[in-house]
Amino acid sequence: MLSVQDLTVSVITGEQPLDITRAVSFDIGPGEILGVVGESGCGKSMTSLAIMGLLPSKQIAVQSGRVLLDGSDITHLTPDQRVDVGLSGVSMIFQEPMTSLNPVMRVGAQIMEALRVHDRENGRDPFARTRELLDLVHIPDAALQMNAYPHELSGGMRQRIMIAIALACNPKILVADEPTTALDVTVQSQILNLIRELRDELSMSVLFITHDLGVVAQLADRVCVMYAGQVVETADVTQLFENPVHPYTHGLFSCLPDPGRRAEPLKPIPGQAPLLIDIPPGCAFAPRCADVTEICRSGTLPWESHSSGHQARCHHPRTGGRGNGQ
């Protein structure tokens, strides 16, 4: 369905391009929800913007690799160019529902604007279709809310409008870049339920970017863990939660509070993620890793299979389940 192959996104600065993501690869099947987890600055947002054809400036560009939608290369096409060649199957929702809607345009008009581009051939009345979409994302009083301005709506409602705009583009794949981070917890779970429900109803795939393992556990079918611009581990969600193998993934789990072990302090991963200009050779996680040995500090890393669909980029994978090795 959507296939990302060796995607390297770089900032083109003075002498040498700095790689924000390094050879990121993953596939999303029909109806699948893939969660991408990682801390801030690990390149997950840039990956999603590259997939969307929305990299923010000329200085940040796809250096190598491809994004394929049903086998067609869409890597270097912006959304409007994708419409022209009939390859507009990717929609996106963003982290900040408060700032992602045009403040001086009624929300109905913002949905209809997308419909006029993507729903022209269907011959559907855009008004009626907008109301349908608002019903679909569970906005009460659709007819009235169409005339609202964004500032008149709550954060959760705005994110629903964003989803309606994304759906107006008839997506095969919805890219969701931390769509619940800015919302409070009850609203967050409503939005997550909505996304799952829409996946089932519209049989679309979802690429869900987050830093929150809890959200991944709730929603995703499969997970990619990213660190310093690379995918370090990928597995289906139960595999990853029961049997993480990469020390970084282990580290993420030990940062989670566990109600059963309230007395124990959380164990943060020591050190800091490396800066773009200062990514160590070999394994980027080596300086923070408890299991590090000499071979980790140079050369290329193995991309080893641990079970079907479970791979990790590590010389010293920890097998034997969560909590092991620490």
Partner: protein
């Protein structure tokens, strides 16, 4: 319902403007009493006898209690009577009306230039950020924003009136005289001189504001919809950038009032600006008072207009 919100907002703002006007009128009225010493002597000159001074004082009503004086004056003003010019011996309102045609036309034509030059070139500059077009436009804008109006005026006279002889260098005979609207050519150079710094300002503001809006999240949302880049620019970027530009029009128009004083003097135009200068030199206090009153009124009206336009353009402006 929306219209009602708007009407209610408009009424409140108008009410607030009326209160400001009333407060300003007190200050303007007090103006004549701020003149050091006895105003009658200032008006009559040093050689006046006490009898003359007293006669004038009586004539002007200066011997009555100050509150009574204010209300008499205010009632007269409300009836359109701004008093009589000491120099012209004619009603102040008539004298101001004589200059109003020139000044209003000058301001109007100037604003047309400002809009026609500032906004489109600012947009072009923003959409071509960093190119030769942008750098030329920004450089020229910087230049014209920095040079004084009178300097631009003098150069325009030198080039288009003295060397090329295409346009008249001074005066303005009114569009109701012979030649009708063709007389507007007299205002071409003055309006260009007056427009230069203001158009430069609006150009820079349009450019900066568009570049700022272009970075907003909702512009990314608009792009993600797959609409054309020009639609992103006009519907999303420009529409939002306009808010800041319209707000600046208020200041620009208000600034025109003071800049017009200089321009009208350079081009010898019979406008309100020159009237102020000459009245100050002649110590014609009723005229100065009247002109200030009119200017305050204009200023408040312009600001009210800008507020209302902004409320219309930006639904977030609350009914405060």
């Amino acid at each position: 319902m929306l219209l009602n919100f708007f009407t209610s907002y408009a009424m409140r703002r108008t009410g607030a403007a009326a209160v400001t006007m009333a407060a300003a009128s007190v200050i303007i009225f007090a103006f004549i009493h701020l003149i050091p010493g006895d105003p009658t002597y200032v008006l009559l000159g040093d050689g006046a006898t006490p009898e003359q001074a007293e006669a004038l004082s009586k004539k002007m009503g200066l011997d009555r209690p100050i509150v009574v004086q204010y209300f008499t004056w205010a009632v007269n003003v409300l009836q359109g009577d701004l008093g009589k010019s000491l120099f012209f011996q004619a009603p102040v309102l008539e004298i101001i009306a004589d200059g109003a045609e020139t000044s209003l036309l000058l301001a109007g034509i100037t604003m047309v230039w400002v809009v026609l030059i500032g906004i489109p070139i600012g947009m072009l500059s923003a959409t071509r950020q960093g190119t030769a077009v942008d750098q030329t436009a920004s450089g020229l804008a910087m230049l014209f924003a920095s040079v004084p109006t009178f300097w631009v005026g003098l150069y325009l006279i030198l080039i288009f009136a003295a060397w090329l002889g295409w346009l008249p260098s001074s005066g303005y005979p009114s569009i109701f005289e012979e030649d009708g609207l063709y007389n507007l050519r007299y205002l071409l150079l003055p309006s260009l001189a007056l427009a230069a710094p203001n158009a430069a300002l609006i150009l820079r503001l349009t450019r900066a504001s568009m570049l700022d809006v272009a970075r907003q999240d909702y512009v990314r949302t608009a792009r993600a919809k797959g609409i054309r880049p020009w639609q992103v620019t006009t519907r999303h970027i420009f529409r939002n950038a306009l808010l800041a530009v319209v707000a600046a029009f208020g200041f620009t128009l208000a600034g025109l009032i003071s800049e017009a004083v200089v321009t009208e003097t350079v081009f010898s135009l019979p406008g309100i600006g020159r009237l102020v200068v000459q009245s100050i030199l002649r110590r014609d206090y009723p005229v100065i008072q009247g002109v200030i009153l009119i200017i305050v009124m204009l200023y408040l009206t312009i600001n009210l207009g800008v507020d209302l336009i902004n409320r219309y353009l930006d639904p977030r402006v609350e009914l405060e």
